[in-house]
């Protein structure tokens, strides 16, 4: 583990500051014990993954809360130092290894904006260390990671919010609330609806570049720690700083980069937060082993008949298996329509800040975020495998396809494991 020594650490400042007035403003939250948080409380915060989306994710973490940045962590030390300087005039301690950061006793909230192959492991470790988490999307790199995150946050009673917020708007939109109630009611049998997302998934923008020769690892970068749970590969610069999205080892192309933004609110609208598709049908050419690439469309069917369709609009034929059709109140009998009208509206979704203060579940909670990520992972696996897949959303395994199941929980590089 590597750690950059910092002359004026928060902890040493605490030790030196004996006056009650000073100490009271920076005591960690758990000192106060009770779940209700006094309005004067200040939360110790940190950002892990300080490049790209990092600063924006950290701002999301702080919204509505009184915070003090105590740590900035990145495998690229220059980025961590820049963030500490920008947000705390260099007072926040700088780390290269998140394990050392999570040992801090004055840390309450963690923003995670690393590439996605680290999201699950760091989220779980943060919960194990007692922290609440706001994590960039996509939540995970593969399906089993998501279940492990759900279990960890349940085990430790911590708050988790995924870094996409479209569902909050949907939950206040009358039309979306009506669709949510229709689908949640279970009254709509043999649903004929087909919802399509055409374009916007940045297929070419986030395709990787194969065959680049290895390069010298920059001095400030801990490459082994960057690879972490993913298979180790020789360093080349397109595997980091944004273009990582085009490599299966770290993300799942534009599908995973943009998909959770689109499908998280759709999943809320159509009341699918606690399940996953059962049939996934792709149209795609054979994938490259390292880099993400082209595909035409993917159809994902749920057990009730409802379908999501993704069409890339950047390669291959258009989707033409079924006409598009939305859910409507007219799909129900008059009697059932009355039942929908009598249904209460869903509970308002809590923001991350509200959830932290109230010690309740945030709107983008782990199960919902996991299920939304599963839409993307299942679509990508169908693209990669080039065949129709049947999925059991309760057991979270493919049915009768042993080779496909190997992609749901690919082994990690030691010492990382979920």
């Amino acid at each position: 583990m590597k750690k950059t020594p910092c002359k004026n650490t928060r902890r040493s400042f605490l030790a030196k500051s004996a006056t009650g007035a000073t100490a009271a403003t920076i005591l960690p939250r758990h000192i106060f014990g009770a779940p209700h948080v006094p309005p004067s409380e200040k939360f110790g915060t940190a950002l892990i993954g300080c490049g790209g989306r990092g600063p924006g994710t950290y701002s999301g973490l702080c919204k509505g809360l009184d915070v003090e940045l105590v740590g900035a962590c990145d495998v690229d030390l220059n980025r961590a130092q820049r963030f500490s300087q920008a947000r705390s005039k260099g007072k926040a301690e700088v780390y290269q290894d998140f394990r050392k950061l999570l040992e801090r006793k004055d840390l309450d909230l963690v923003a995670i904006a690393t590439p996605p192959h680290w999201h699950a492991s760091i989220s779980i470790a943060s919960a194990e260390a007692g922290m609440d988490v706001l994590c960039e999307k996509p939540m995970t790199r593969f399906v089993a990671e998501g279940r492990a995150v759900v279990n960890a946050f349940k085990r430790y009673g911590r708050v988790f919010q995924i870094g996409t917020f479209g569902r909050f708007g949907r939950s206040k939109d009358k039309g979306s609330v009506l669709k949510h109630k229709i689908m949640a009611s279970g009254l709509l049998k043999d649903c004929k609806s087909v919802r399509m997302k055409k374009g916007g998934l940045k297929i070419k923008q986030w395709s990787g570049t194969p065959g680049i020769p290895p390069q010298t690892i920059p001095e400030q970068l801990d490459w082994d720690l960057y690879c972490g749970p993913s298979p180790w590969k020789p360093y080349e610069s397109r595997r980091v700083t944004g273009t990582h999205r085009g490599y299966w080892d770290y993300e799942g192309g534009g599908m995973c980069d943009m998909g959770q933004h689109h499908y998280d609110p759709e999943q809320w609208t159509y009341a699918k937060d606690h399940t996953s598709p059962v049939e996934i049908t792709p149209f795609a050419p054979p994938s490259h082993p390292e880099v993400t690439g082209m595909w035409a469309w993917v159809e994902l069917k749920y057990a009730d008949g409802f379908k999501f369709v993704m069409e890339s609009g950047e390669w291959g034929p258009s989707y033409d298996r079924q006409p598009l059709r939305d859910v409507s109140i007219d799909d129900l009998s008059k009697e059932d329509q009355e039942k929908i009208k009598a249904m209460p509206d869903p509970e308002p979704l809590l923001s991350f800040g509200e959830a932290v203060k109230q010690r309740k579940q945030a709107g983008g909670h782990p199960e919902a975020a996991h299920r939304a990520a599963c839409i993307l992972h299942l679509a990508n696996l169908a693209i990669r495998l080039g065949r129709k897949l049947n999925y059991d959303p309760d057991k979270e395994v493919f049915v009768n396809d042993e080779e496909a199941n190997r992609f749901l929980n690919p082994p990690m590089s030691a010492p990382w494991r979920v």
Partner: protein
């Protein structure tokens, strides 16, 4: 058709990415590779080079596409044949980085029959090939555990941790003693892998060991070791061993007394409430 001509169906980058790809031609090429048998597979592997030592984008793409396409239901005959041809190239004289790529394709399509060929690399520290071997065997399934058991006493350095973790991945109850011994190692990650292994096999008789070791650890080690204690309690509960699970929760409540460990006491309380 010769092998180099078959590979032409697969694209070369245009503007850095594989933007123009002919699905039909690629699928046909895969069929030709399968039909070409061992000779074609060996010829493709011959065309794969170490990263930075030449151009092999189409060969890698074709080999991977075939490894994927031979998988799935009702394709067992082709899968077994292709995996066997691939594994046969591991004994040839070629760079470890190339063998590592072949092993990664066996992670996709290999079976227990390829276990021995892959396991030869479990203790080899060069070019991370031990990691690729362990991950391929883990993906193939629990029947590969014997290879991890055989390799562990011989594994040194980085492969030792990887092989120990592999035993934990496979939930190998026959490795209980190895896990126990590992919890006393000088290396923190070996200790944690040992504790994790005991948690994975839901070893009720080792609950006290886990609790004692977690109390001795500090910092990151304490965070992870405590997590494994709580997960062990859940595993024991799932196996109907409520009494043993309760003892773990009570211990955590009693020993995690720091202000910053309140969330652990709360976690133990939730576990105890479930057991009522």
């Amino acid at each position: 058709m010769n092998t180099k001509d078959i590979l032409k169906a697969f694209p070369q980058p245009e503007g850095k990415i594989l933007r123009t790809i002919d699905k039909e031609a690629c699928e046909k090429a895969v069929e030709q590779i399968i039909a070409g048998g061992k000779k074609t597979v060996q010829e493709i592997v011959e065309l794969i080079v170490e990263p930075g030592k030449g151009e092999d984008i189409q060969a890698r793409h074709a080999l991977h596409a075939t490894a994927i396409r031979v998988g799935g239901p009702s394709n067992e005959k082709n899968r077994k044949a292709f995996a066997s041809h691939l594994a046969s190239t591991l004994s040839d004289d070629r760079p470890k980085a190339v063998k590592g790529f072949v092993i990664r394709q066996l992670q996709v399509c290999g079976g227990i029959e390829q276990g021995s060929a892959i396991a030869n690399f479990l203790t080899d520290p060069d070019d991370h090939i031990y990691e690729y071997a362990a991950q391929a065997l883990e993906a193939i399934g629990p029947e590969t555990v014997t290879h991890f058991r055989k390799a562990y006493p011989k594994a040194k350095g980085a492969p030792r941790l990887t092989v120990l973790q592999g035993l934990g991945v496979q939930r190998d109850k026959d490795s209980r003693e190895a896990f126990r011994k590992a919890t006393k190692d000088n290396d923190l990650e070996i200790r944690l892998a040992g504790l994790w292994g005991l948690m994975r096999i839901a070893s009720a008789e080792d609950a006290e060991l886990l609790l004692a070791q977690s109390a001795k650890e500090s910092g990151w080690g304490r965070i992870k070791a405590t997590a494994y204690c709580l997960e062990l309690a859940e595993n024991l509960e799932a196996n109907g061993k409520n009494k043993e699970a309760r003892a773990i929760y009570l211990n955590i409540k009693k020993t995690r007394t720091g202000d910053h460990e309140e969330y652990l006491r709360e976690s133990a309380d939730r576990g105890l409430a479930r057991l009522k």
